[in-house]
């Protein structure tokens, strides 16, 4: 669909209603009218199909096996045990029996049939007290917040701020309540004002994250709008604001590319909301609307130039931005195992590619359910698709640990680092954009890399590895030391040279290769790495230092520029 078409659909949607009720009621199709698939995203759901079946169904004169993904709006990924239990029930009752933890700290339900959409969303709102408004679509998406165990005083405040911001940036339309919650249609519900978004909302999706140094698990520089927390005497002083990051690109179109965000200035906590509204409305007014692949804020910023952009922001926010304050990140990964936060215990658990399921002899779903049934602490989804269980006292820690062991959820201790830290997007079979496998292939690909490392005596080397089913970059592959980006079944672009702090983009090393060719190249690189590396030098840094990769890449290295 072209940008103009999407814009027209949004404009004609009567504040995101479209013909969704009619589409939902149509018994002849398991899918929606095409225009409604655009509208549905704003309600937190994507129409997808089981692509494994697509060709066979078409040959049988049957429409694709339409199904829906539902994504929660859970700022910072914080859930109570009872919310977790509700999500678990909903996955069973209305979805495919699995939960998917995402890099934006949301929970996704997959395989939801059209007739189950409304019951599922009702159950989410009524039983889990979680909504899905604006979890997808051309609006501000779920806001990410560092989930790491460090600087937990800052985390609490930052999370509260993120939750408030998430509320403030919600669309005002009553459509969600009307369509999903049988809410009364208000007399004026066709004309709810959208003071922030206007009638066509944003040109494209918009992502905000809050990072709490030293952990950059949210990868704040990959976001449209980033806030890097800054502490003064252990209290939250404010945030360095970064703008214009974004992962997505279109294969073969040189006008599209991943970009790291650039620092804009510094704001105090009470300035976060007006600043965010200013950035959002600038993007609303200046963003490209004709061509969706050029519509993200990163291109708007490039087109406007930093100075004009900053001036526009300051004019709209009503205050001048303070100078950027320096920050220092040490990692973008997760911490696993037990830690202490604010005098309480917390536990980092590895979840394979974020998929909470009981399959292939594992018991992630029933194990986590058993832990939630204890009713203690909180769950925190991490931006690396893992889970933390936080806020436990000593007694609770013992109870949780017992169940972790009983259900075999403590595998993080036995994993080699490549697989443990690897990320993959969902991709096949449900993602309509996927060109190659990602989540399903991740374990095998990781193990393959580990074997290669092992052969060169690098068995325990931590190397950031990410797989994405297409160039859109949901698993943030452009920041990885090694990334595979799907181009066709079994074929990937190989990108190399990210760092492990989320501050350096990798570069294209080889295009559209078969897996075997990729492993051959990696094998040769690992051989050199084993020979030539400096003590503790990360693989990505090694590639740049030795000139294997041409040094033409943007790198912030944590310093204001």
């Amino acid at each position: 669909m072209t940008g103009e078409e999407v814009e027209r659909i949004k404009k004609d949607s009567r504040r995101l209603r479209g013909t969704l009720p009619e589409s939902l009621a149509d018994p002849a199709s398991g899918g929606l009218a095409e225009t409604d698939t655009v509208i549905l995203k704003f309600h937190g759901s994507y129409q997808q199909d089981d692509r494994d079946l697509r060709a066979a169904r078409q040959a049988a004169f049957l429409e694709p096996a339409w199904q829906f993904m539902i994504r929660t709006r859970t700022p910072g990924g914080v859930l109570s045990p009872s919310q977790w239990l509700a999500l678990d029930r909903i996955a069973e009752r209305h979805g495919n029996g699995t939960l998917r933890l995402t890099t934006r700290q949301a929970v996704q339900f997959h395989g939801v049939l059209k007739g189950e959409l409304k019951p599922a969303i009702q159950a989410l709102v009524r039983e889990a007290k979680i909504d899905t408004i604006a979890a997808c679509g051309d609006v501000n998406r779920t806001i990410s917040v560092s989930a790491g165990p460090e600087a937990s005083a800052l985390h609490r405040e930052t999370h509260a701020l993120a939750a408030r911001l998430s509320e403030a940036l919600l669309p005002r339309t009553r459509a969600y309540f009307e369509i999903w919650l049988d809410g009364e249609r208000l007399p004026d519900s066709g004309s709810e004002e959208e003071p922030i978004y206007g009638e066509t909302y944003l040109p494209r999706k918009f992502k905000i994250a809050f990072a709490v140094p030293p952990r950059n698990d949210v990868e704040v520089l990959a976001q449209d709008l980033g806030f890097i927390a800054c502490a003064e005497r252990d209290a939250l002083a404010g945030f360095t604001v970064t703008v214009g990051g974004g992962m997505g690109m279109t294969a073969g179109d040189p006008r599209t590319y991943p970009l790291l965000a650039r620092p804009l200035g510094f704001v105090r906590p009470d300035q976060v909301l007006p600043l965010a509204v200013a950035v959002l409305t600038v993007q609303r007014d200046f963003g490209e609307r004709g061509e969706r692949k050029r519509a993200r804020l990163k291109y708007t910023l490039e087109t406007m130039g930093m100075e004009r952009f900053r001036a526009e922001i300051e004019a709209r926010a009503g205050f001048a931005l303070e100078p950027v304050r320096p920050w220092r990140f040490t990692t973008s990964g997760d911490a696993f195992g037990w830690a202490r936060e604010e005098g309480r215990f917390s536990l980092g658990l590895w979840v394979p590619a974020g998929r909470v399921a009981d399959r292939d002899g594992t018991a992630w779903r029933s194990g986590l359910r058993a832990i939630a049934e204890l009713g203690v602490g909180h769950f925190r989804i991490t931006p690396n698709q893992n889970l933390r269980i936080v806020g436990l006292n000593d007694q609770e820690r013992v109870a949780v640990e017992r169940r972790v062991v009983a259900f075999g959820l403590d595998v993080h201790a036995r994993l080699r680092p490549v697989l443990r830290d690897a990320l993959a997007c969902v991709a096949l079979p449900s993602c309509p954009l996927a060109m190659a496998e990602a989540e399903r292939a991740l374990p095998a690909l990781s193990v393959r890399i580990e074997r290669l490392l092992e052969a060169h005596g690098l068995a325990d080397e931590a190397i950031g590895f990410r797989v994405s089913g297409c160039p859109n970059g949901c698993s943030r592959p452009y920041l990885a030391e090694i990334a595979l980006i799907g181009r066709a079944p079994g074929r990937y672009d190989l990108r190399l040279g990210g760092d492990r702090r989320g501050e350096r983009l990798n570069v294209l090393a080889a295009e559209n290769l078969e897996l075997e060719a990729i492993f051959e190249r990696l094998d040769r690189l690992f051989a050199r790495f084993a020979q030539e590396r400096q003590p503790d030098e990360p693989f990505g840094d090694f590639l740049w230092r030795t000139g294997i990769l041409a040094a033409a890449n943007d790198s912030l290295q944590g310093a204001p520029r």
């Binding site: 018994p27 002849a28 199709s29 078409q58 040959a59 049988a60 004169f61 049957l62 429409e63 096996a65």
Partner: protein
């Protein structure tokens, strides 16, 4: 006129200027009359005879058929031809064209009447039968008649329509010229002797047969029916349902050597098939035969195994077989089945031939066995595509019958045969015209009601209507099990709805967890809309199983009663009237 069509010399001089010139300007009916006359002349040896005005209403002889699948029509056509060859003037009529008054004026009438469904007359004869049921005694006092009833003894009310007609005509004062003849699936066994009796009867009645040319229906340019099988090749075969427990439905495309026969949407294709070896083996084993024993059937000598494979009905029990078993076994179940319709149905549902032979063993000779079995009837499948869209091929939608029984899994004889064919394999088929179920001549709206594979002819209808640029509206009311699994040709219907060729689509899924429904439920819900369509001239077409057809009819009657505010009697009248107008047509199996 092409020279190739000219007969050999002597070609009467001046015929072009004289006779043929006069033909120009005649309308179709007149031209048909002339052809029929010429044909009769030709059959009579070409000698000119005096032509009594062959306006056939004056004929004292008529052959009437009430046919659902074409069987009765074929028997009637053959009888008419035989009568005509002996110089009798006659009319060959479809029961649909008759009412009691016109029937009363026909003189001597020979009926071929089939029975379908639960003892029902063919749709074409329903109006006539309903009128006969209400007619006054004595109203057919001047009529002489004989009835050949066609039926299938595996159904409970065997030959019921013919039996009823035979009885009713006598009650109305008509004279029965010959006793009722009842033919089972092996029609010839009864039909051939009956035809001889009719010929003899007619000869004895008309001492002085007037030499009169008759109007015969023109023989079709292209042979059709099971006596004219065509070689076909399977071009494509694929399953079009999804899901482990969904019914196995196949989409088959058959190509012909050259053009396809000139079938139209609504017509059917008959498939000539043989039983698979395993089925034959089971029958032989149960009967204690080796297979090479020879049998003499209708003048042909066969090894029993080959006769069973190619000529015998092995999936459906015949009455003769059950009688043969009951003669040896003092068995309650067998005896009851022969007496009681529902017990018969239960028996047929539980046992196929091999299973019955095994359950009630007795010694068999090959000829005893062949005499106890009915001949294999080829299976008919509605065409699921129109030539305008699919080209010179036949498209069939075949539900592969598979049931689990205590005796093991069963597969439909013909559907199993078709499902086992691979692309490129050849088979024999024949064209079975179904004039009662074709599209209306005009552009009127269509309400198409189907369940399961009954959707097949409607796909052909819509393809044809779209190709013709028809302005009529289309409403499909369809019943399947589950949306994702067996909404047959879903992509076509959705595409047609999107482009505005399908104006209304009502669906009922019988196995969806939340909203189980059947087409009858949709009809009831949308009854007032249906009446609106009817009042604007729509024609209703129903295709599916017999039970579904009965359910739909009950629902239609209820709609006419409640929405149309009339009595049950009036509703029935209304439906009969629609049927007589060709606006209520059914193809049930």
């Amino acid at each position: 006129m092409s020279g190739l069509l000219r007969p050999r010399e002597p070609w009467p001089r001046g015929i072009e200027e004289g006779l043929l010139a006069r033909l120009s300007g005649l309308d179709a009916e007149a031209l048909l009359w002339v052809s029929g006359y010429a044909l009769a002349l030709a059959r009579g040896g070409g000698k000119a005879r005096s032509v009594s005005s062959a306006s056939a209403t004056e004929a004292s002889l008529a052959v009437v058929y009430a046919s659902q699948t074409g069987q009765a029509r074929r028997v009637a056509e053959r009888l008419a031809r035989a009568l005509e060859e002996r110089g009798n003037a006659l009319r060959l009529l479809d029961a649909a064209e008759l009412n009691v008054r016109t029937l009363a004026g026909l003189g001597r009438v020979f009926f071929a009447v089939s029975t379908h469904g639960d003892g029902d007359p063919p749709d074409a004869a329903r109006a006539l039968f309903a009128e006969l049921a209400k007619a006054k005694r004595g109203s057919l006092a001047r009529l002489g008649f004989a009835v050949l009833a066609l039926g299938d003894s595996s159904y409970p009310r065997f030959c019921a329509a013919g039996r009823w007609l035979d009885q009713r005509l006598v009650e109305l004062g008509a004279e029965r010229l010959l006793p009722l003849a009842e033919a089972d699936l092996d029609i010839e066994r009864v039909a051939a002797p009956w035809q001889d009796e009719v010929l003899a009867k007619v000869a004895s009645l008309s001492q002085d047969p007037r030499p009169v040319a008759a109007i015969l229906p023109l023989p079709r340019a292209v042979p059709h029916g099971r006596e004219h099988p065509l070689k076909a090749e399977l071009l494509d075969q694929r399953r079009i349902t999804f899901g482990a427990d969904a019914r196995d439905v196949r989409h088959l495309v058959l190509g012909f050597d050259g053009d396809a026969p000139p079938f139209e949407p609504g017509d059917a294709l008959g498939v000539v098939f043989a039983h698979d070896d395993a089925r034959v083996e089971r029958v032989l084993a149960a009967a204690g035969l080796r297979g090479e024993e020879r049998v003499e059937v209708q003048g042909q000598n066969w090894p029993i195994a080959r006769w069973l494979a190619e000529r015998a009905e092995l999936t459906r029990l015949s009455r003769r077989l059950v009688e043969a078993l009951a003669a040896v076994h003092q068995d309650h179940e067998l005896r009851l089945a022969l007496e009681d319709a529902s017990a018969w149905q239960a028996l047929v549902a539980r046992f196929q031939v091999a299973e019955a032979l095994a359950r009630w063993p007795r010694p068999w000779t090959a000829s005893e066995l062949s005499a106890a079995l009915t001949p294999l009837s080829p299976r008919l499948y509605s065409l699921a595509g129109s030539r305008s869209e699919e080209g010179e091929v036949a498209v069939l939608t075949v539900g592969v019958l598979r049931t689990e029984t205590p005796a093991g899994p069963r597969t439909g004889a013909c559907s199993g045969f078709l499902a086992g064919l691979r692309e490129g394999q050849r088979l024999e088929v024949f064209w079975e015209p179904n004039p009662r179920f074709r599209l209306p001549e005009d552009d009127r709206d269509l309400v198409m009601i189907a369940a399961g594979t009954g959707i097949a002819p409607f796909r052909a209808f819509l393809q044809e209507r779209i190709a013709r640029g028809s302005r009529g509206r289309h409403w499909l009311i369809y019943g399947a099990r589950r949306l994702r699994e067996d909404f047959l040709y879903q992509l076509d219907w959705l595409r047609w709805r999107k482009r505005g060729a399908l104006h209304r689509l009502s669906l009922a899924f019988s196995r969806e967890p939340q909203r189980r429904a059947y087409v009858q439920d949709r009809l009831r819900e949308e009854g007032s809309e249906l009446l609106r369509w009817l009042s604007e001239g729509a024609a209703i077409y129903v295709c599916g199983g017999t039970a579904m057809g009965q359910g739909v009819e009950a629902a239609l009657l209820r709609i006419l009663e409640s929405e149309g505010r009339c009595s049950p009697e009036e509703a029935r009248e209304r439906l009969l009237a629609l049927s007589a107008e060709g606006r209520y047509r059914r193809d049930l199996y």
